[in-house]
């Protein structure tokens, strides 16, 4: 038990150091406000993608309505802060909570479905949410809501993203509940034979994942300061899915990598020469297609980046360098 806590202290120290490094870079202006904005955007979508990975990667439930839960969170928090003057953090909690509760309500009937049927159902739910918001004047209709305060700073996003990461990590890799969730993806019949109520665990995973989407939505509303139903249509759900799939379904560090690459890449390509700029979305697409052809399990597969893993990796590189240098030496002697 002591070892577990020691490990946690190390992780917390690591996070504080990472946070400090970012802050120093921001303060000294080495990362300008443009990049700052991109980093915050990555953080926000990372929270949503982590939630999606819990549903899609760990529980194996194919959902296409993830962006809808983001919009529920975004509208909840925006209305609360703008119309009722609720404090920002409280509004975020409300956003996550509302999305999670709605997930339980719609999850209860539809999570009995599997595969394609579930996908269609969640897709339909996404459209319902969009059309509903479009037709309710109080929510701004198709015009959306503007003039939301800019409150999603780096600190809040960083802390919440780390928290979401930790929640899924603890749940999946270190608990009986997590193994139950994994078993649902592996084999539902066998899971039931092991005494696991599969529907219950599907709903739990769905609620947590959608709650994270709601949280991300709340952050997004206070980041872009303007939301409309179209910001969360089903192409956004697909985008989130590409983050998860590219990083590796069932790998949290993979999701971090996937989200970072896929948000940063189009921005980075924009800065290159005119030709690249013109074809940047094409390059983006080609990258995705080739990824699926050559590494369908995603960048990380189901593995996680660990300290031991990194040591091993660098050890291998060192050995390759050493063996190549010794072979050169041998060559000289001969």
């Amino acid at each position: 038990m002591k070892e577990t806590y020691k490990k946690y202290i190390k992780v917390v120290i690591g996070l504080i150091v990472a946070y400090a490094v970012f802050q120093i870079l921001f303060q000294t202006g080495m990362i300008n406000s443009y990049y700052n904005r991109i980093i915050r955007q990555i953080g926000i979508f990372l929270i949503s993608a982590l939630g999606l990975n819990l549903i899609l990667g760990f529980t194996g439930q194919f959902t296409l309505g993830h962006a809808a839960f983001m919009s529920i969170g975004a509208y909840t928090s925006a209305i609360l802060t703008r119309n009722f003057g609720v404090p920002f953090l409280l509004a975020l909690i409300a956003a996550a909570f509302t999305a999670a509760v709605l997930a339980i309500i719609i999850g209860y009937p539809i999570l009995r479905l599997t595969g394609d049927y579930l996908a269609i159902c969640t897709l339909g739910f996404g459209e319902i949410v969009k059309v509903f918001i479009q037709n309710v004047d109080y929510l701004g209709g198709a015009r959306g809501i503007s003039g939301i305060e800019n409150k999603s700073g780096f600190t809040v996003i960083f802390v919440l993203a780390a928290l979401c990461f930790a929640i899924i990590m603890n749940l999946i890799h270190h608990s009986s509940k997590g193994r139950a969730i994994l078993s649902v993806k592996e084999d539902e019949i066998a899971a039931q034979a092991m005494g696991i109520n599969t529907t219950k665990y599907k709903i739990i995973a769905f609620a947590i994942g959608c709650g994270m989407a709601g949280l991300a939505g709340g952050l997004f509303a206070h980041f872009s300061q303007f939301i409309d139903p179209k910001s969360f249509d089903f192409s956004k759900s697909f985008e989130l899915m590409t983050y998860v799939v590219l990083g590796g379904m069932g790998s949290l560090s993979g999701t971090v990598i996937g989200t970072s690459i896929l948000i940063a890449l189009p921005e980075w390509l924009r800065g290159l020469s005119d030709v690249v700029k013109e074809y940047r979305m094409l390059i983006y697409a080609i990258m995705l297609v080739s990824m699926m052809l050559f590494r369908p399990q995603g960048i990380m597969g189901t593995k996680e980046i660990t300290v031991a893993g990194l040591k091993n990796f660098f050890g291998k590189i060192k050995r390759i360098f050493r063996s190549s240098s010794t072979s050169v030496n041998k060559g000289k002697e001969a």
């Binding site: 038990m1 603890n170 009986s176 193994r179 592996e186 084999d187 034979a193 092991m194």
Partner: protein, 255 residues
């Protein structure tokens, strides 16, 4: 009093009477065999015992409690565990995780304490880990603990499935064709294993099997099922010489 008592068990699928008026009594620490030609309804009986199907008639009493018609995951909590005819391991999880899965339904920690990892939850998790390793050591699989289950050879997968079922702390273990796909040597080892499990864990075992040699060797009592009907029940010698059983398997002589 017997551990499992099945009375007049019947199930219909539409017009098909799959199992009719089936009776079965299994005592404490008994090795029981359920045999019958293909399509006799053996697996259907298994599925009713484990809650996959709800019987249309009759009763199943286990340990003094009616268990017919309750959900599969609740059956496990009543201390009945099973293996599958076509192995159903959690292939992408490690051997250790597979075994720990057997303990999971017995875990007391809730969702919230799992997320924040309370000291109690960590201790419970460590205890499960320890127990699972012990069980794997008994099965001589401790070296394979970190291996993915799908990478094990066939015979080992069968053993792992049995280990996982035992982790669920059963009083009655149901084995669905454990020797399917095994060579004679592996079958001989399995015979030993089944006997040893009964003695070590002090549980009853009900097994469905095609391999006559295994059943006759291992089981103390046998029930024969044919076309959904109970054909005979008794000691292996009695079954071996029962003309009705011979007829069901080989057909009538000189018809």
């Amino acid at each position: 009093m017997s551990l499992l008592s099945v009375k007049n068990l019947t199930i219909r699928f539409g017009g098909l009477l799959a199992v009719n008026d089936f009776n079965l009594e299994i005592g404490e620490q008994e090795l029981y065999g359920l045999i019958g030609p293909n399509g006799a309804g053996k697996t259907t009986v298994f599925n009713m015992l484990t809650g996959v199907y709800t019987p249309t008639g009759g009763s199943i009493t286990f340990d003094g409690e009616r268990i017919d018609g309750i959900k599969p995951y609740n059956i496990t909590a009543k201390h009945i565990a099973r293996t599958f005819q076509n192995i159903r391991l959690f292939g992408n999880l490690t051997v250790l995780q597979n075994v720990m899965m057997g303990y999971d339904y017995q875990a007391k920690s809730g969702l919230f304490s799992s997320i924040i990892r309370t000291p109690k939850q960590i201790k419970e998790e460590e205890k499960m880990h320890e127990d699972a390793m012990k069980l794997l050591t008994i099965f001589h699989m401790e070296d394979l603990a970190e291996e993915k289950a799908k990478n094990l050879p066939y015979g080992q997968q069968r053993r792992l499935e049995i280990a996982r079922a035992l982790a669920a702390n059963p009083k009655l273990l149901l084995l669905d064709e454990p020797a399917a796909g095994m060579n004679p040597q592996e079958t001989a080892e399995l015979t030993e294993l089944i006997r040893w499990i009964r003695d070590e864990f002090k549980i009853s075992i009900l097994l469905i099997e095609h391999d006559m040699k295994l059943v006759m060797n291992v089981c103390e009592k046998i029930t024969v099922l044919s076309f959904g009907q109970l054909l005979a029940a008794g000691k292996p010698e009695e079954i071996r010489n029962n003309p009705r059983v011979i007829e069901a398997y080989l057909g009538k002589r000189g018809a």
